[in-house]
């Protein structure tokens, strides 16, 4: 693993305490070129994590706080008529919205109306924005880290499944452990710490890491395992519908990125198993209304690794 990557993880771990796994997962998500959805209760460090990610990865980042009166133009940008100084003439000039950034922090995405949500989600998928008939490409790279409250909280618009699919991973942070909480209480303000973070990765390094994700080798056996998982989600009773081919690709890409972050150049079944909850749980809907296992838990228990 590159030294820069180790540094980045270390820095992040200093800000978000006791969440090594989730931090590795979110870094893998960004290395895999995917968007990240962090779902948790307010005050669990979602926003801190996303800010820290932007700072450490050296990305130009913007933040949008989603509210119920947010309009698509607030995200995408708007053309405003400007008068030429000294003349009576003028023209429309496009003022790019916050979406024109390398890392977009979409806070509490499920507080906005579906109309505004879909404006962002379209940008995520197309990596370009069309405003007033003109298509504008978004900067490279373009990541969205969105946070959302659990949907059963009041005043939220749950994202439909088709749009959840745009996020490569969905993770949640959870309460910190006792010792981590003590360190948090004794330590500095997290906001200040984020401001003091130095970027440890250059744009080129990030680009190179992303390319190395694609080079992580996947053997026949591990691809067989992945396909067994996909087949299981499609044909076994219990899910409304199985994973799409895009879902399958996402699973492979995320696993590769995890393997890279874990310091390997080849893929193991363990990589798939580790990223599985983050990648598939928001894509699969239990027909029977859940039960003891999450969708990924059922897969992990049922699909054989060795055949």
């Amino acid at each position: 693993m590159s030294r820069a990557l180790t540094d980045a993880l270390q820095q992040l771990n200093q800000v978000i305490l006791g969440k090594e796994e989730q931090i590795k997962m979110s870094v893998s998500c960004l290395l895999a070129g995917g968007h990240l959805l962090i779902e948790d209760l307010p005050g669990m460090g979602k926003t801190t994590l996303s800010h820290a990610l932007g700072a450490v990865l050296g990305l130009k980042y913007n933040r949008i706080q989603f509210t119920s009166d947010l309009l698509p133009a607030d995200i995408l940008g708007v053309s405003i008529f400007e008068k030429e100084p000294g003349t009576d003439l003028g023209r429309f000039r496009f003022h790019p919205g916050p979406v024109f950034s390398q890392l977009l922090l979409a806070d509490e995405i499920n507080r906005a109306t579906p109309k505004s949500q879909s404006a962002l989600l379209e940008a995520m998928e197309e990596r370009q924005v069309t405003v007033e008939g003109e298509t504008r490409a978004l900067p490279e790279p373009f990541f969205v880290v969105a946070t959302q409250n659990p949907v059963n909280q009041s005043g939220t618009f749950p994202l439909p499944e088709s749009q959840l699919d745009r996020f490569l991973m969905r993770i949640s942070l959870g309460y910190p452990s006792e010792s981590a909480e003590r360190a948090l209480l004794e330590g500095k303000s997290r906001r200040d710490m984020v401001d003091q973070l130095d970027p440890v990765l250059s744009f080129e390094e990030l680009k190179a890491l992303q390319q190395r994700v694609d080079q992580v080798s996947a053997s026949r056996s591990v691809l067989d395992y992945l396909q067994r998982i996909i087949a299981f989600t499609r044909y076994e009773a219990g899910y409304h519908y199985g994973l799409s081919p895009r879902g399958a690709q996402a699973l492979l890409r995320a696993s590769r990125a995890w393997a890279l972050v874990d310091g390997r150049e080849h893929l193991l079944p363990e990589d798939i198993q580790t990223v599985l909850p983050s990648v598939v749980d928001h894509r699969l809907v239990d027909a029977a209304g859940g039960g003891a296992h999450t969708p990924s838990g059922r897969i992990l228990n049922t699909v054989p690794v060795l055949v």
Partner: protein, 675 residues
């Protein structure tokens, strides 16, 4: 894993519905309603719109259903009510069909429901339908087993089902031929309370007419020589009705003088005049059988009465196949004893005075009994008497009313009136009820007799000639005898009036008629070659085949046949076995897992090799380093390169073999220490 596969639900519902459909003919319509309700409910559950019903809901549903059955069948225990109970239980089972286990139960219920349907109907169409439904039910069974096949599951299930049924076919034949057809060990009569259409033991004026409105099958006849018989000879004698109470003719129950086979007349082997035939009779729940004149009993458990009728020792509750003969050399009764003469002259003393006086008048003018009868027949023929299926209502003294007022009647009216008048003038006479005519099938050379061929005629005693058959209907409506009922009723248009869709109404349309005849031929062959294979038939076939009729030999053959079948199938399976699927590495891996069984390590299919080996090495720390080495090598082998190199596999397997032995030893030791 024990959840019901979603793709199986449609198969299961289809199987159950199709198995239930044949029952719709004998169950009240409420059951159809219940079926629609329950299946709709289950479908909504499948779509997630409705929850599974709770315990209270289910208990209420069961109680309501039981109440419904009790009301619908008035607490009677019959085949129908038992079936209804079973059908209801099967339907309600759908509501708690959640796990795969419940799916199996529904499959077996469907199989059983389908076979219960054969208690009611055994026709060829029902059998073909049954096979089709067997296919669906078996496909449902297969679909329950399918794990990883969504869109293809339909075609896989249907293909497997065909294969399984085909494989079961030889077994079915062996069972059909050799399984002993024992009479039931229990004495409960599984008798359907559905009314059986057919002749009853008594005849009031309208009885035969109402029978003639049905097109149900009565029996089929094949002649051994295959020659089409003359219609005028086809008087199928069923019953002799010789007791009259003023309105109804009855047969004498006290006529016990039955001679049983083989103590009755048998045609000599060189007798070329005797015509042999074979009858396949539908169930009547009565003792009597049917025969032409000069008949005799040719089989065990069949007897001949003194009135020349055939009777069966047991009531005919199942389709019965028996042989008959018409033999002019069969000696006829030449004299009546005093008792018989009195019996066949008896009349209620004060009935029908007009008929009595008119008959006495005619008899006085006639030259003898023969001339008197001719005179009466001429009277029927020349005066305006009508042959009709819908005669007017008659009051008391109905023979008087019929003869002199309404002058409209069906065969029973004419036969009854003639016998009455003959008796009143001292000629012994009796009514004979049975069937007349039938439809000849030229392609398969058999005669079909249906309920509308039911007929009544008379037999009069002429000294010197014995009993002579006289059919007064022939004097009124000769078409009835020559061409059948339809021709006789052509003017009236009343043939099968209440039976609008009966195919027999459309005999005039030739293509329809030929289809009907073809279908009838198929049904006949089905009855003759498949359904009539009963206990006696089995014994005679197997007697010829095996030279033995004991159950022991039958069972030996049955067992032998099954063993041979399974051997053949086993050989075929081994021969066609697909290539070995499990890799040697996996086999060795499973052996290693087995060796560690005494340690009770938790195992799940989702375990990776490293995870499992790590847990194992926690339990047997002595082997930690070789175990972890194997974990590394397995990962390296399976996941490092795109393809698995062959040479490294062999050396790894060798290493694993060695480790397996060690693990086995250690595992036993650790397990022993724990205990």
């Amino acid at each position: 894993m024990n959840q019901l596969p979603r793709s199986a639900l449609l198969w299961l519902l289809a199987a159950l519905v199709l198995a239930l459909l044949p029952h719709s003919t004998h169950l009240p319509w409420g059951f159809a309603l219940l079926g629609v309700l329950v299946i709709g409910w289950r479908w909504q559950m499948h779509r997630g719109r409705l929850p599974y019903p709770g315990k209270v809901t289910k208990a209420i549903a069961v109680a309501l259903a039981c109440l419904g059955i009790a009301v619908a069948f008035r607490n009677q225990f019959s085949l129908e009510s038992a079936t209804a109970f079973f059908v209801t239980a099967s339907l309600l089972k759908l509501l708690e069909m959640k796990a795969r286990r419940d799916g199996y139960l529904v499959v077996f219920l469907s199989y059983f429901l389908l076979s219960v349907g054969f208690l009611f109907e055994q026709g060829l169409l029902q059998a073909l339908y049954g096979i089709a439904v067997m296919w669906v039910i078996t496909a449902a069974l297969v679909s329950l087993q399918l794990l990883n096949s969504g869109q293809q599951s339909f075609s896989i299930a249907s293909r497997y089902s065909v294969g399984m049924l085909a494989a079961a076919l030889p077994l079915m034949l062996v069972f059909y031929l050799f399984f002993p057809r024992m009479s039931p060990l229990w004495s409960m009569t599984l008798q359907s309370n559905k009314a059986i259409t057919g002749l009853s033991g008594e005849m009031s004026p309208g009885d035969i007419a109402s029978l003639s409105r049905s097109d149900e099958l009565a029996f089929r006849v094949t002649y051994d020589d295959g020659i089409k018989p003359e219609r005028e000879d086809l008087y199928w004698r069923g019953l002799v009705l010789d007791r009259f109470d003023g309105r109804t003719w009855r047969f004498s129950k006290n006529d016990r003088s039955v001679e049983w086979f083989p103590k009755v007349y048998q045609p000599a082997p060189d007798n070329t005049e005797a015509r042999f035939y074979e009858i396949i009779q539908e169930p009547t729940a009565q003792h009597w059988l049917f025969t032409l004149k000069h008949g005799s009993a040719l089989e065990r458990h069949i007897g001949l009465t003194s009135t020349g009728l055939l009777v069966s020792r047991r009531p005919v509750h199942q389709r019965k196949r028996y042989k008959g003969v018409t033999d002019p050399y069969n000696p006829v009764l030449t004299s009546l004893n005093q008792f018989q003469r009195r019996h066949n002259l008896a009349l209620p003393s004060d009935s029908n005075p007009r008929a009595r006086s008119w008959a006495a008048e005619q008899f006085a003018q006639a030259a003898g009994p023969g001339a008197f009868i001719q005179g009466v027949l001429r009277h029927f023929n020349q005066q305006d008497y009508y042959y009709t299926l819908n005669p007017l209502e008659l009051g008391a003294d109905d023979i008087d009313a019929f003869l002199f007022d309404t002058r409209q009647g069906f065969c029973a009216h004419y036969a009854g009136a003639l016998v009455f008048m003959a008796r009143s003038v001292g000629i012994p006479a009796r009514v004979v009820a049975g069937y007349q005519g039938g439809e000849w099938n030229e392609s398969e050379k058999y005669l079909t007799v249906r309920q509308f061929d039911a007929h009544a005629w008379t037999e009069l005693w002429i000294d010197g000639q014995g009993w002579v058959r006289v059919d007064p209907t022939a004097a009124v409506a000769p078409e009835r005898i020559e061409f059948g009922l339809e021709a006789a009723l052509q003017e009236e248009q009343s043939f099968l009036q209440g039976n609008l869709l009966s195919p027999h109404r459309f005999r005039g349309i030739s293509w329809l008629n030929s289809i009907r005849m073809e279908l009838d031929t198929l049904n006949y062959l089905w009855h003759r070659w498949v359904l009539s294979y009963d206990r006696d038939r089995q014994k005679s076939v197997l007697g010829n085949l095996l030279n033995s009729t004991s159950y022991k030999d039958m069972l030996m053959w049955l067992a032998g046949g099954i063993v041979v079948l399974f051997l053949v199938m086993g050989v075929l399976l081994v021969w066609r076995r697909p290539a070995q699927t499990a890799s040697p590495l996996l086999k060795q891996w499973l052996k290693l897992q087995q060796a560690a069984a005494p340690l009770n390590l938790q195992q799940s299919p989702g375990d990776t090799s490293r995870n499992w080996l790590k847990r194992l090495s926690d339990q047997v720390p002595e082997l930690q380093s070789p175990l972890m080495a194997v974990a590394d090598r397995m990962d390296k082998l399976l996941y490092l390169q795109p393809e698995i190199p062959e040479s490294e596999t062999t050396s790894l397997i060798k290493e694993m073999k060695r480790l397996t032995r060690q693990v086995q030893r250690q595992a036993r030791r650790v397990a022993a220490q724990k205990n």
